[in-house]
């Protein structure tokens, strides 16, 4: 198992380098001249040329790419044009906020989506199943930011239950301010997970080994949890992992709606002020986060499904 994990980590390095290359290349297409932005309107052509040289902006693409990569290894993501401080520092101060929001989003997705799917499948075509199916259809089709707006209108402005924006202080304040954005962020994922769980449960429910389990006198609860769900979770795990990417993308919208002080909001601010290093830094950090989370999902996957482990073992040739 450890060998598998190590191997997966090793495979991560070229993918990360490629990811950063792609992001770096895309952002390089921008025609914003950082020197002009940094020096302001008063800058002379000479000053600009000097700064270009200083920042190495005239170097060939790959030189700049590898320099960026090298700096990244030291935790250096460049200097923000607007804040005039390190991008890494800006991101570091906001990352925990995004992590709290995204983490709560995943948590809600899993603890609501999976039971919904399981109960729906166990009681196929019941009222519960129908209601849950309608919920998943709407949940997958509703624009998350709009759901956020509606939640604010109902729960903040009319019922005054939760704050409409910002991040509250203290445990209670934080939780109160977290509830609406977390629901907003998790809605489409919850719908997705519920749907996947339901259909993979329905496949498993008819499996022969469920008959075997019944025939040996296993009780219904154990059959559902130990025999059905453990098998049904295999595809669900993948969906949860992939959904994390959707969630990170969605956090940009959700943080904007709720003025949540995280990376997503930082990206949008930076785009508006044409602060390219900040946008680049955020995109790189979000991509790394997504890739690392998916690595954990892959490892979890191997843990749930012994066949994956075996594949690796036979491919690796040793136990």
């Amino acid at each position: 198992m450890w060998k598998y994990i190590l191997k997966r980590f090793a495979m991560l390095i070229p993918v990360m380098m490629g990811t950063i290359l792609v992001v770096f290349f895309i952002m390089d297409q921008s025609n914003v001249d950082p020197a002009k932005i940094m020096l302001g309107d008063a800058a002379t052509a000479e000053n600009i040329a000097h700064l270009h040289k200083q920042l190495g902006l005239d170097d060939p693409f790959f030189v700049r790419y590898f320099r960026y990569l090298g700096n990244l290894l030291h935790g250096d993501l460049g200097i923000s044009y607007t804040y005039k401080t390190s991008v890494a520092g800006q991101i570091a101060s906001r990352l925990p906020n995004t992590a709290i929001l995204a983490g709560s989003g995943v948590f809600l997705t899993v603890i609501i989506g999976i039971p919904l799917g399981v109960i729906s499948a166990k009681h196929q075509f019941s009222i519960f199943d129908n209601v849950s199916t309608v919920f998943t259809l709407f949940g997958a089709a509703a624009p998350a930011f709009w759901v956020g707006l509606v939640l604010v209108m109902v729960f903040s402005q009319h019922l005054h239950l939760f704050p409409a924006s910002g991040m509250g202080r203290g445990t209670v304040g934080l939780l109160k301010s977290l509830i609406l954005p977390a629901i907003t962020l998790s809605l489409s994922g919850t719908a997705n997970v519920a749907r996947t769980t339901r259909s993979s449960m329905l496949e498993v429910i008819r499996a022969d080994y469920i008959d075997t389990a019944r025939a040996k006198g296993t009780d219904e609860r154990t059959i559902t949890l130990r025999h059905m769900l453990r098998n049904a979770l295999i595809p669900v795990t993948t969906v949860v992992g992939l959904n994390f990417g959707v969630l990170l993308g969605g956090s940009v919208l959700t943080e904007t709606v709720f003025a949540w002080p995280g990376i997503g909001r930082y990206v949008i601010e930076s785009i508006k002020s044409q602060d390219i290093p900040s946008v680049l830094g955020c995109v790189v950090v979000l991509s790394i986060l997504f890739t690392v989370v998916n690595l954990f999902v892959d490892i979890l996957y191997a843990y749930i499904d012994p066949r994956i482990k075996a594949q690796y073992k036979s491919a690796g040739g040793s136990k």
Binding site: V15, I26, M27, W146, V150, Q157, V252, T256, L280
Partner: protein, 304 residues
Amino acid sequence: MTQQGMKKATGMNEYQGRSLWGEAWHRYKKNKVAVAGLVVVIALLIIALGTIVIDLVTHESVYNELVLKQDIYRKLAKPSMQHIFGCDEYGRDIFFRMVWGTRYSLFIGVSSILFALAIGLVLGSIAGYYGGKIDNFIMRIMDVFLSIPSMVMAIAVVTALGTGTFNLVLSIAIPQIPRLARIVRASVMTVRDREFIESARAVGANDRLIITQYVLPNAMAPIIVQTSLYIGQAILAIAGLSFLGIGIQPPTPEWGSILNAARTYMRQAWHISLIPGLVIMFTVLSLNAAGDGLRDALDPKLKN
């Protein structure tokens, strides 16, 4: 050898292809939700095309009058008989803005997915058909693209290239390329080794002909289903970008950009938030229902 000759030689007849889709349509018709979805999608297409025709015929005078003209006396007017969806912060009728905005969501959504599909088809079918090193190379590159969350990638593209319509199409399309390439590859791989491909090869068809004439037509069903489901996602993404202010720019009446103003005027005018969102949701819902119906119709085994 002619293509017809080749088809005869390989024993693949037109009838089989038609009966698959005929059969699928027969099953599709029975699915009420899917038919309802399809009806809504067709209605939206008619609206989108209709407004384009009106603009062409009237040289946008109707557009200017109904959609762009501001009227301070109707500012944030609530829904009423005259303005069934109410008015926005400039006193423009939201109903007409939504009607004229249909084309952006629909056509940018469809064209970005078709664009992604075109590239995904090429990459996916090469990877799936040849396998081995080529497959490995292409799919590793796709993995790299997949490791960037699609909304994040779209934001990066729009930031770098700017907010034009074509850039918007690109920003939605690029993240979907690896997903579609994967689906194409998987589908091609299931068809690749079937007998009629062998026989096409035996009568001397070249690879390009085999892929375009034999492999892809038989691998299309799952690809079409997924493509139809991605269009809904694309529409949500466009609305999201416009809401953030980095999609379609005002005063163009894109659905998401109408919602952009909603947050500011939420207190005074609930209808600006509520109605455009509902329209987007029902549009995506209809597209998804139509796509799901198509999947069930094409592969009844998948239906629970």
